[in-house]
Symmetry: C2
């Protein structure tokens, strides 16, 4: 818990609470049953829905089909499985009471943020209650001298940085975590901060930035996706806002040249704030979608932070390194507006890729390998793509060996869907063979459970199962995911 034990702590799935609730149920304190009929993934009983309303108030409970469907899927191609009800708690006490209610009645709990996940983590595979945490969006406490802030789960990165604007501090920004500047968190496109913690990304930098969370369970190595508890608050480490910032793009003749440049920049200990790789397909998509005029070639997006003087030196050395590797001159974005435009394009890569085949769904791979193996796996992946006939664009957090191949798939085309899944599994196994992982940041969710087994082995799986059973003995926290 560290020195942030002052946080509101809530342990929804804790055995102590479970025992209490079992006792309460035995004593007849909960006269109704959660489901109309046990064993079906169906409707929740009227009495149970009334009980949910008694906790959060009628306006904050919905059993409408539209709400349930909207909460049964994320941005991935995993099929929608709607929960029996959606509930919007307003505070930690309500979350606690909701969890108690569900636990006592054996009703699954599925935490929900903004639905931007990519691994089907929010699908209600066994029905249950979706707990949407977006209404808990208060910034609870800012300690500028201690460089930290306590936020509720509904606070987004943008909201937080707007709030921090006059404090001289910030929560580091959008995309990437190069290894040398490891305290930048790697962040998904538009999510809530606590959802990022909830997803339990493998990214150690996120764990580092998240000093404490109002939930005992730490992010597990393979993405807990809300399977161990609900996060009701998080203490985040802040950083001094940089004196100056510049961003640049640089085109390369090959993937190898771009990755070599990255490694050499890291070896030179230049304090990069971000470094992102986009392949030529992705650059083409971004040019069209975000109206850029970049070269259609393997490209690095870079950002440097520091004092004016330090920046001048960093930039000079980085450009030297990149030209040594055959890169183009840097295209600079020094003004805030131009920088925003550049990073917005990178941020919108998912949507740019989707626009390559309108009407299609996206499926993103998420492997991560030691950086030395990155060129070979990228080259192999591009060959596999060509051979498969699938449409895919690549974007990589090249600083730590993580990249995404965004595949476009017609959801009506079962055969294409099968090929896309097979491609993802094949790529996952390739990464494992290179001492990598099947998931750098998106988590396991629904689709990578088999790959997780291959990655951590039987003993690893059994240990995770036992830890899950210890913290969630009835198996009600987001069941069917990860394990």
């Amino acid at each position: 818990m560290g020195w942030c034990g002052h946080l509101a702590t809530h342990l929804s799935a804790h055995p102590a609470m479970a025992s209490l609730l079992r006792a309460a149920a035995t004593w007849g304190l909960f006269p109704w049953r959660g489901y109309c009929s046990r064993g079906t993934q169906g409707e929740l009983s009227k009495g149970f829905v009334e009980a949910l309303k008694a906790v959060v108030g009628s306006p904050h409970v919905s059993t409408a089909a539209a709400d349930r469907e909207q909460h049964g899927h994320d941005e991935s191609m995993h099929r929608c499985q709607p929960p029996g009800a959606v509930v919007w708690p307003q505070n930690v006490e309500q979350v606690s009471r909701l969890a108690a209610l569900c636990y006592s009645q054996g009703v699954p709990i599925i935490p929900f943020g903004t639905g931007t996940g990519l691994e089907g983590g929010v699908c209600a595979v066994q029905g249950g209650v979706c707990i949407n945490l977006t209404h808990m969006d208060r910034i609870l406490k800012l300690d500028p001298e201690d460089f930290c802030v306590v936020v509720e789960p509904g606070v987004t990165r943008k909201t937080l940085n707007t709030y921090l604007r006059d404090s001289g501090l910030w929560f580091p920004t959008q995309a990437q975590t190069p290894r040398s500047a490891a305290w930048w968190p790697r962040q998904p496109p538009a999510p809530m901060l606590c959802a990022m913690a909830r997803c339990g990304t493998t990214c150690s930098t996120w764990r580092w930035c998240c000093l404490a969370a109002g939930c005992f369970t730490p992010p597990a190595p393979a993405g807990t996706s809300g399977t161990l508890g609900l996060i009701t608050a998080a203490t985040l480490r802040l950083h001094p806002a940089p004196e100056a910032t510049v961003a640049a793009t640089c085109a390369f003749p090959s993937v190898q040249a771009a990755v070599d440049t990255t490694v050499h920049i890291l070896q030179a200990a230049l304090p990069l704030a971000r470094i992102e790789f986009l392949d030529e397909v992705m650059m083409d998509a971004c040019n069209r979608h975000s109206r850029l005029t970049c070269s259609v070639a393997p490209t690095l997006f870079l950002e440097f932070h520091g004092s004016e003087r330090a920046l001048a030196e960093q930039i000079e050395r980085a450009e030297e390194i990149s030209q040594h590797n055959g890169g183009s001159h840097f295209f600079w974005a020094k003004e805030a507006e131009e920088r925003s435009r550049l990073w917005a394009a990178r941020h919108n890569a998912w949507y740019a890729a989707l626009a390559l085949r309108p009407g299609c769904k996206g499926y993103s791979t998420d492997v991560c390998v030691p950086i030395s193996r990155l060129p070979e796996i990228l080259v192999q992946t591009k060959e596999d793509l060509k051979a498969s006939g699938l449409t895919g664009a690549i974007v990589g957090h090249v600083g730590d060996g993580n990249f995404h191949c965004i595949l476009l798939v017609d959801p009506e085309d079962a055969e294409e869907l099968r090929r896309v899944k097979a491609f993802g599994e094949h790529l996952g196994r390739r990464a494992l063979a290179l001492h990598g992982t099947c998931t750098g940041e998106h988590g396991i969710g629904l689709g990578k459970r088999q790959l997780l087994q291959e990655e951590v082995g039987a003993v690893g799986m059994e240990t995770m199962r036992q830890l899950k059973a210890t913290l969630d003995p009835r198996g009600l926290m987001n069941p069917g995911k990860v394990l």
Copy 2:
């Protein structure tokens, strides 16, 4: 496990193994019993000692009183409780077989590094076998392009950095982790790298630097002290060796001025490599013990890394800030030899403090508070010291609010011992009241179990107990510590 799943993985206390062993014992595969007589903390049976020898070879097992006593205590004032035998395994297979043997016979296992702990973590409170890991001292794999190295638990920081000398990389150095350079690990005086992981310091930076460990169990929030498993290998993150390094000391008129300087330097985002605080008592002790000629005043030790140009700028701004807060001119140590001398003095602070009252033992407190509360707790602690009549010197990892008050105590003086313990508990509670923690890096061990309860509460303790029981169902991993 991340992308370092290629590590040898060993789960000594894992239930799957436990079941196997229980079965083996039932089947009569282990005909002798571990203890001569159950329930006494005594001698191990001859048959059991022979079995230990069969695993590691006779020269690597000792039941000699001297060896047992040497392994029954660390550098703290906690009383020696020797194990029944000391065993030096040579490789992971032997560790695995030793663990299996002990587990099958219900014999406690106490992992041992270099014995530099300060919380009695190695005391064999229920007897058992001490597993000394110092003979496992190989550097298993260096991946310079991936900035990581895999080491066995007996590798020390110095050995590793000597090994890395020509690679252009290093494992960041001795002492402190200021918040702005958070990827430097904070390190105890002279321990083995894996012992640092084993201790499970609360220091998030250490977790960050340790990419993977050959043991499933992650360092827990309050110091696991070998209570969850044995670490047989760790993958460490390396960093480019800095182009240039300078160190400096600076004396201040007050504790407040020194801490203010630290906060202002952090706010200015100057990439400090280390920043350490020593009070006037400690400075006096270091002057004598390490033949320095520093002012006897609250003092900061600082170190900056970077390019020559960047350093010039950093130094200038840091000196400006410190003088603004009433600090002296910086005393610079630019040459490697001079720097080493300075940091050796800081490193030897523990021994310098011990030399203040020859023949006495040391007791180190280890509280950590939000940095904004550091001046008040330091001032209060110095007042308490004066009122108590105890001798104590203070050294602080001021960058993140952690400091140690090293108290000198005559081990024959029961009354003084009582007062020292009371002082430590009082300080721990003061830190908790300021939203701090009773342990910044030394762990809970034997002496802080009560404070841990006050810090994490009943639910936190119960959760830890349950997780411990899941991973170590027979309670044989370093029993009697932490929980």
